[in-house]
């Protein structure tokens, strides 16, 4: 995927879900700096539908 050249970047990432289906404290998972940002909201939604994960949508203004 290509990164949009846009000073107002919209980042979309998906959470890693914890292993337990019970709504208990979900431990953080070490990503080691590797976050697969998706730069298209529609693409992010499609991924969310496919894998059942929620979306973390970030608007960041690079002034």
């Amino acid at each position: 995927m290509t990164r949009a050249i846009n000073p107002l970047a919209l980042f979309v990432a998906q959470f890693a879900l914890g292993g337990s289906a019970v709504a208990a404290e979900i431990p953080p998972q070490l990503l080691d700096g590797k976050i697969d940002w998706v730069y298209s909201y529609d693409e992010g939604k499609q991924l969310a539908r496919e894998n059942g994960k929620p979306l973390f949508v970030v608007f960041r203004c690079e002034r």
């Binding site: 050249i5 846009n6 000073p7 107002l8 919209l10 959470f15 879900l17 914890g18 289906a21 709504a23 404290e25 979900i26 953080p28 909201y41 939604k45 499609q46 969310a48 539908r49 994960k53 929620p54 979306l55 973390f56 949508v57 970030v58 608007f59 960041r60 203004c61 002034r63």
Partner: protein, 329 residues
């Protein structure tokens, strides 16, 4: 913000960072972002972001999106920044056609101005909880850290330590969730909060009236320039030592002019190196942005404003005459 659906992603466009936790069907679990006037990162920190992520995951597992109510943007119809009538003219003046967050609000406000509908109150979007007397904890953002005396929240009986579960029925997890509710709360209204106090659930009703939506220091807002004219100069407050050398009190206005871009400013005779010690009779300490904000909110295009400055150790009085109309007209 190019081609972003701003009917879906509605937020304080004067911000430089904002996040939404959502499902795959355009529905929101919670928001994260926002700021107090004094500090851009007042409610942005690792602890609160991690807590919000935990909550978002919990809500996702439980299938608890926000209700589709007036606080939940549906995204329909699709509306992008490019659809704002004044945006085309803004972009035409740029080599790079990228639309920033604040451009969305600026374009909308300019459109309102063109229609003769603009009021200065329109700059004060997304009020924060402190506007109604609630200082929210920076880490656990739905927990009350302090209640301002004689505020609507204090009058209603909110206490330090209370957890705000909902405002007008809208689930509150974060500072940004609360700000979203306040954005759509009319100036004269009653706002019902559901609080958790220990093991008790307590509803309280806040009576809101007057200018609570106006924050004290909106100088950080990029969109503020729509509100009125600015002084056309940049300046830096003098240091303590510099003030002492000039006999200026620590809490007094002492802005050293380091840049002039306004033709009206040059015409008034302001020079680089001048120290502004009063403007329109105001002598309290201000940053350069606060100086602009004062004029933008209190003066109109074509007005004259008296300025007192120090030049070579001597007081000098000038008058700045603002342009008759905004540059975009």
């Amino acid at each position: 913000m190019n081609e972003v659906n701003i009917n879906l992603f509605q937020f304080e466009y004067d911000l430089t960072w904002m996040a939404f936790f959502m499902d795959a069907e355009d529905q929101t679990y919670t928001r994260y972002g926002g700021r107090e006037d004094a500090d851009a990162e007042s409610h942005l920190n690792k602890a609160s972001l991690m807590h919000t992520m935990q909550e978002a995951l919990r809500l996702h597992l439980a299938g608890k999106v926000q209700h589709v109510n007036r606080y939940q943007a549906t995204g329909k119809p699709m509306h992008t920044p490019e659809d704002i009538p004044t945006m085309a003219a803004m972009l035409a003046r740029r080599d790079v056609k990228c639309i920033h967050c604040h451009d969305v609000k600026v374009a909308e406000l300019r459109h309102r101005w063109t229609l003769g509908e603009f009021t200065r109150d329109m700059v004060f979007t997304y009020p924060v909880p402190s506007a109604i007397g609630l200082q929210m904890n920076a880490d656990r953002q739905n927990q009350v850290e302090a209640v301002a005396q004689q505020s609507p929240a204090a009058t209603a009986g909110v206490r330090m330590g209370d957890v705000v579960l909902s405002a007008d029925g809208q689930r509150i997890v974060t500072f940004a969730d609360f700000s979203r509710v306040l954005e759509l709360t009319p100036p004269e209204s009653e706002l019902v909060l559901e609080l958790r106090r220990g093991q008790q659930l307590i509803p309280v009703t806040l009576e809101l009236t007057g200018q609570w939506r106006r924050s004290q220091d909106p100088s950080w807002r990029e969109s503020l320039h729509i509100a009125g004219p600015n002084t056309g100069l940049g300046g830096k407050p003098l240091s303590t030592r510099e003030r002492r050398a000039l006999g200026i009190a620590p809490d007094a206005l002492a802005l050293s002019v380091n840049f002039i871009w306004g033709a009206h400013t040059k015409q008034a005779g302001v020079r680089r190196g001048d120290v502004i010690i009063a403007i329109d009779g105001q002598r309290h300490d201000m940053t350069g942005r606060q100086l602009h904000a004062y004029c933008m909110l209190n003066k109109d295009w074509g007005d004259q404003v008296p300025v007192v400055l120090l030049r070579d150790g001597k007081e000098k009085k000038l008058t700045i005459t603002f342009p008759a109309k905004p540059p975009w007209q």
